[in-house]
Amino acid sequence: MLAFILRRLVGMIPTLFLVSVLTFIIIQLPPGDFMSSLAANVGTSGSSMDEATVQNLRHQYGLDQPAYMQYIKWIAGFPRADFGYSLDWKRPVKDLIMGRLGMTLLLSLISLVIMWCVALPIGIYSATHQYSLSDNVLTLLGFLGLSVPDFLLGLVYMAIGIFVFNVSVTGLFSQDMETAPWSPQKVMDLANHLFWPALILGAAGMAQLIRIMRGSLLETLGQQFITTARAKGLKEQIVINKYAVRVAINPLISVMGMQLPNLISGATVLGIVLSLPTIGPLFYRALLSQDMYLAGTMLLFISLMLMLGNLLADIALAWVDPRIRLE
């Protein structure tokens, strides 16, 4: 197992390298650079920056160097945890993103947990009550969850919070908790603010999980070892929970590797709508202002999270299903 993990980690290095090159190219794609968009912004606010100042700043931040030199400088800093300097925020990228990356991961993980806790029982119920009214209703609800854009759910959630309950649901803390030191109340406050966004984020994935679980369990229930178990006189409860579900759950775990990226993607948009301190809003602003090191580093980190997520799903699958051989 350890050898497998190590081999996978080493195998990730060339991919990561290519991803970083591609990231840099994409981030460099917009015409002009941060200084030209800054100059344009200053221009619209009335005053103006003369060409010499712009050139000076460009030189100061190394923006006048050829692209590959900028790339090398940027990537060479990574082993030292130096991800470049955000021109927009005038702060090192590292200080800006670390907390936000953590929050993004936390939100995605909570979402994953909620998804599983809801989808698993519903999937099992649907499969054991196939074609019943409740199965049909649940299936329809699942499809609805799959079809409503998550940014819309976010908007509606925000509107309901403000206009019905008169509480602001943006951000992760209530106003009076924002600056308070960590305490059990503050943790509860955070949990309150995270629960609904996590649920909204997981809506689409949940629907998918329910469907897969239902299909997989139905297939498993038709197999011979289930008949044998029933013939032995085992209780139906045990046949389902201990025999069928344990086998039927495998496709769900392999899907998990695909769902994590979706969660992280969704968290970006939802973060922007609900102005959560995740990478979403920061990434969005960095893209618009062409703050390239900030945007690039974030894109690279999200990709890294995604690759690690896939690896974790593979490990989990191998751990649950001994029939899968690691190669």
């Binding site: 991919t15 990561l16 290519l18 991803v19 591609l22 990231t23 994409i26 981030i27 794609l29 917009p30 015409p31 499809f143 609805l144 799959l146 079809s147 409503v148 854009p149 940014f151 819309l152 908007l155 509606v156 925000m158 509107a159 403000i162 206009f163 990226p261 979706n262 992280i264 993607s265 969704g266 970006t268 948009v269 922007i272 990434f283 969005y284 893209l287 618009l288 945007a295 974030m298 894109l299 999200i302 990709s303 995604l306 690759m307």
Partner: protein, 382 residues
């Protein structure tokens, strides 16, 4: 009673009746497509989804005819007019109550009251703004309208500039539904070529292709789409932006298809019919185009249908964030840009209507694709 009339029944063995045997024989004679159709017909959700999808595309095709007004036609007297309810009575037929405007002096906002005094009857086949039906026939006939520019009909309300939401949503369906279609089509073309050749040739071509897919797939979709869309210059004409967005959407889309097709082709490559074709002297191009692609065609269609919801949702999310299509183009995502602000949603909730259409379209495609997926493998018994 003779012996031959009796069935000899062994316990647990079902003796098929004559009808089932005949049915079975008829089944063998059916082509792959007939089998798929038979199986698809049995999924009610799939049929419903398929019909809904067809309806959506019909609406998009005849959008200008179905919409009472042009997408940019403004009624400056009626800013943020609320949706009017259709009513029916014996004398006037279908009608709406006219909106009466009063002006709130404190908030400087117009207040609309639906007055039951003036009835605005719904007229059919009226003449209003000219347009080109299907882009070809010049006409100015609209399915319905008030025929009176003083009393326009706003079935779903009007927006900030006094434009009819209903018309804009109908016209917006053209962009929202075709951008997905084009994006899927592009992904299909790239994905089929890459996937099939990767699976068929194997070796170094396969290796390079798989590495490439792995790198692209290592990016999270929405952030990558956002980054690519942010790179589109602001001054580009709308048509170019539209085309670029489809290219950006298919930039990730093709990898899914290529992966799946490669797997299918890897399995099919070992089949006898490919060997037979090779022995008969067919070249690679012929084998791929005449034998492999038709065999996986059902799966291509399923994957394409299931890719549509993602594309529609992505377009709306990108446009909503001002990174996708932008005015003067009209798409459902562009329409939702108006509803970004909480105060707007509070006072003018009908601006969220486009989202209902997005969800309905996505739902239809999901049902349809789900039905197709079950039907695509007609040889499996279920």
């Amino acid at each position: 009673m003779t012996v031959s009339d009796q069935h000899i029944e062994a316990p647990g063995v079902e003796v098929p009746s004559l009808e089932t045997i005949q049915e079975e024989e008829r089944r063998y004679a059916l082509s792959q497509w007939q089998l798929m159709w038979r199986k698809f017909k049995r999924s009610r959700m799939g049929i419903a989804g398929g019909l809904l999808v067809a309806a959506f595309y019909l609406i998009a095709a005849f959008a200008n005819f179905l919409a009472p007004y042009g997408g940019d036609q403004r009624f400056i007297e009626y800013l943020y007019a609320p949706p009017e309810t259709l009513r029916l009575d014996r004398q006037t037929g279908l009608y709406v109550n006219a909106l009466e405007t009063t002006f709130d002096k404190e908030t400087l906002k117009s207040i609309y009251v639906m007055s039951s005094k003036t009835k605005v009857p719904l007229k059919f086949f009226i003449h209003d703004q000219p347009y080109k039906l299907l882009g070809l026939i010049e006409t100015d006939v609209h399915l319905f309208g008030s025929g009176d520019s003083r009393y326009p009909i706003f079935l779903l309300g009007s927006d900030r500039q006094g434009r009819d939401m209903f018309s804009r949503i109908i016209i917006g369906s053209q962009m929202s539904l075709t951008i997905g279609l084009l994006g899927v089509f592009l992904s299909l073309v790239i994905g089929s070529i890459m996937g099939v050749s990767s699976g068929y040739y194997g070796g170094i071509i396969d290796n390079i292709m798989q590495r490439m897919i792995e790198v692209i797939r290592s990016f999270p979709t929405i952030p990558l789409w956002m980054a690519l869309s942010a790179a589109l210059p602001q001054h580009w004409p709308p048509q170019l932006v539209y085309f670029s967005i489809t290219v950006i959407l298919s930039f990730i889309g093709w990898t899914w298809l290529a992966r799946q097709l490669r797997g299918r082709v890897l399995a099919l490559r070992e089949e006898d019919f490919v060997l037979a074709a090779q022995l008969a002297g067919a070249d690679d191009r012929r084998i791929i185009l005449r034998h492999l692609i038709p065999s996986v065609f059902g799966h291509i269609i399923v994957i394409a249908t299931l890719a549509m919801p993602g594309m529609i949702l992505a377009e709306s999310a990108l446009s909503f964030l001002n990174l996708g299509l932008r005015p003067p183009l009209i798409s459902w995502g562009v329409l939702l840009q108006e509803a970004q602000n909480l105060e707007t949603i509070r006072h003018y909730p009908w601006l969220l209507m486009p989202a209902v259409f997005i969800s309905a379209a996505v739902l239809a495609f999901n049902f349809f694709g789900d039905g197709l997926r079950d039907a695509a493998d007609p040889y499996s018994q279920q």
